[in-house]
């Protein structure tokens, strides 16, 4: 008996112009699992992420997070509820420092309300200190602590991926949607990142849904794998099953031959 999924989407559909980017796709993510979402470039994975995280509104279909319907809810509300995502091309705040990037994502800061910093400076400062400590701790975890005072715009692509990962963790999410988290990250660091993900699941009970092109990594860490092609989910199952699935091999390898190699760094 499998537990009720933390995130479940049924029959999502999204069209851009005449193109069906996501075509009646369904996906379920079990709590405390690591689920991989794979598929050739243009399969609709990122659109799926945008739909799940509230950045796009599905034309039809239903999404449930933690047992509550949430399609059509704004992205910030979903993030506040614990469903947080990163972006394929990391969206760091370039003209703010690395530490500020992290601290922005701190939760429960009363000072974000208008004028609160003037009316209740002490409460704001206290929470600010807590958030700063939390941010520094996470920065040490992702090995960016020495760059804390630098503008995020000076970071390399891999460092930006890490910063965005750290920033997402600042919100203490329950479900983290990671869009190609390893792309451009140095291999040794990527390995450490993997360990962190597995560790976070064990210690904090976090759940992950990951888009990734690196097949080795996908096979190594995923509990389940969902495969998309041309907007539809074409297979879903355990890593071993997916590896042997004829349809997946046909669609996925075909996609690889035409567009990009399976190594990290490719852009859909």
């Amino acid at each position: 008996m499998t537990p009720a999924p933390l995130l479940a989407a049924r029959d999502l559909r999204k069209r851009f112009g005449g193109v069906l980017a996501v075509n009646d796709a369904s996906i379920a993510v079990a709590p405390q699992s690591i689920t991989a979402l794979i598929g050739p470039n243009g399969a609709g994975k990122t659109t799926m992420f945008n739909l799940l995280s509230g950045f796009l509104r599905p034309e039809s279909g239903a999404i449930e997070f933690d047992g509550r319907r949430c399609e059509g809810q704004p992205s910030h509300a979903l993030a506040a509820a614990g469903l947080v995502r990163t972006f394929q091309i990391p969206r760091v705040l370039t003209r703010m420092t690395v530490l500020e990037n992290m601290m922005l994502a701190g939760t429960g800061q009363p000072g974000e309300a208008l004028g609160a910093a003037l009316i209740r400076p002490r409460r704001v400062a206290r929470r600010e200190n807590e958030i700063r400590a939390q941010a520094r701790e996470l920065l040490a975890l992702i090995r960016l602590d020495r760059l804390a005072g630098d503008y995020a715009g000076t970071l390399s692509g891999g460092q930006r991926k890490l910063l965005e990962f750290g920033r997402a963790l600042m919100t203490r999410p329950r479900l983290l949607l990671l869009d190609e988290p390893m792309a451009g990250v140095a291999p040794t660091l990527a390995l450490q990142l993997l360990e962190h993900i597995i560790d976070l699941r064990a210690t904090r009970g976090m759940t992950f849904l990951v888009i990734e092109h690196d097949m080795e990594m996908v096979m190594a860490i995923s509990d389940r794998i969902v495969v998309m092609d041309e907007g539809a989910v074409i297979a879903e199952g355990l890593p071993g099953e997916i590896q042997r699935n004829e349809r997946v091999i046909a669609a996925y390898l075909g996609g690889i031959d035409q567009s990009a190699p399976a190594v990290s760094g490719s852009r859909a």
Binding site: G17, G18, V19, G42, F55, L56
Partner: protein
Amino acid sequence: MRTFAFPAEWPLAGKRRTTVGIVAAIVTLALVAAVVSPRADFAQFAQLVVNGVITGSILALAGVGATLIFGIQRIANFAHGDFLTIGAYAAFVVNSLLGQNLALAAVGAMAAVALFAVVAHFVLFRPLRGRGTVALALISVGLGLVIRNGIAIVAGSEIRRFQVSQSDVIELGVVRLAPGQAVAIAVAVIVAPLVGLFLARTRVGKRMRAVADNRDLAAVAGIDIERIAVYVWILAGALAGLAGVMLGLEQGTFDPNMGVGPLFLIFTAVVLGGIGSAYGALFAGLALGLAMELSTWDGFFGGLDAKYKPVLAFVVLILLLLYRPQGLLGRARIL
């Protein structure tokens, strides 16, 4: 690779039934109002239709250029109103100073503004591309100030008029026209459809629409965007020049500030048509012009006071942004 499709040939074709519905509702409302109202005066109605076609064509011609520039280079050109002013003054030079007829003056205006627009593209906007919409918009604001006040210094700030008879009246059935208005309506009736045909049928026109509609997709499809951008500035300049002459004729007089007022109406037409959609702007400009003029018709619930015409446009803009920011004819865009 997905197949690349050009946008639908005509805006009302296909599945845009909501739009047809909205337009039909407005027309029905106007007709009902006409029948119910005891003061319905159809001569006045015809007169207003003529005025509306003139105003609408001005907004349509200027709007096509503004929307294409936006679609292709992501510049909200706040100097676009002042492009009209350049057109009017260029025509004034040909018409009043060189003593040529208005047709030649209009051609001169189109050439002058097209040239100015291309120079602005190469000297200003192309080198600064990628600066972000807001920075580019501010730069276009600066350009507008330079144009407006440059004209005031060179040509003087006094009120000007074209050399057309101000007293003659041309009667066209129930409609009475000043000669200037007659020229304007003739231009409107000929040029607006020509622009539509150009965009629909010619290779360059189709490519302009394709690039404005989706720059990345057009680039992938092998369209030379740099070249199309130059063509777009030429077209936008020429149409703005013509619109400027028409505005000068419609108003009777003009001064260096004539482009300031119409700017927001042009932008309203652009938003109404869906930013980046050339047909949309063409259609929306006409619709906006007609709606503004016809709102003053006695048959329409006694008629709106003429001074509320721009207010009507403003209300339309705000409601549009609220409920249908992609424009009446446009479709939703991502991010």
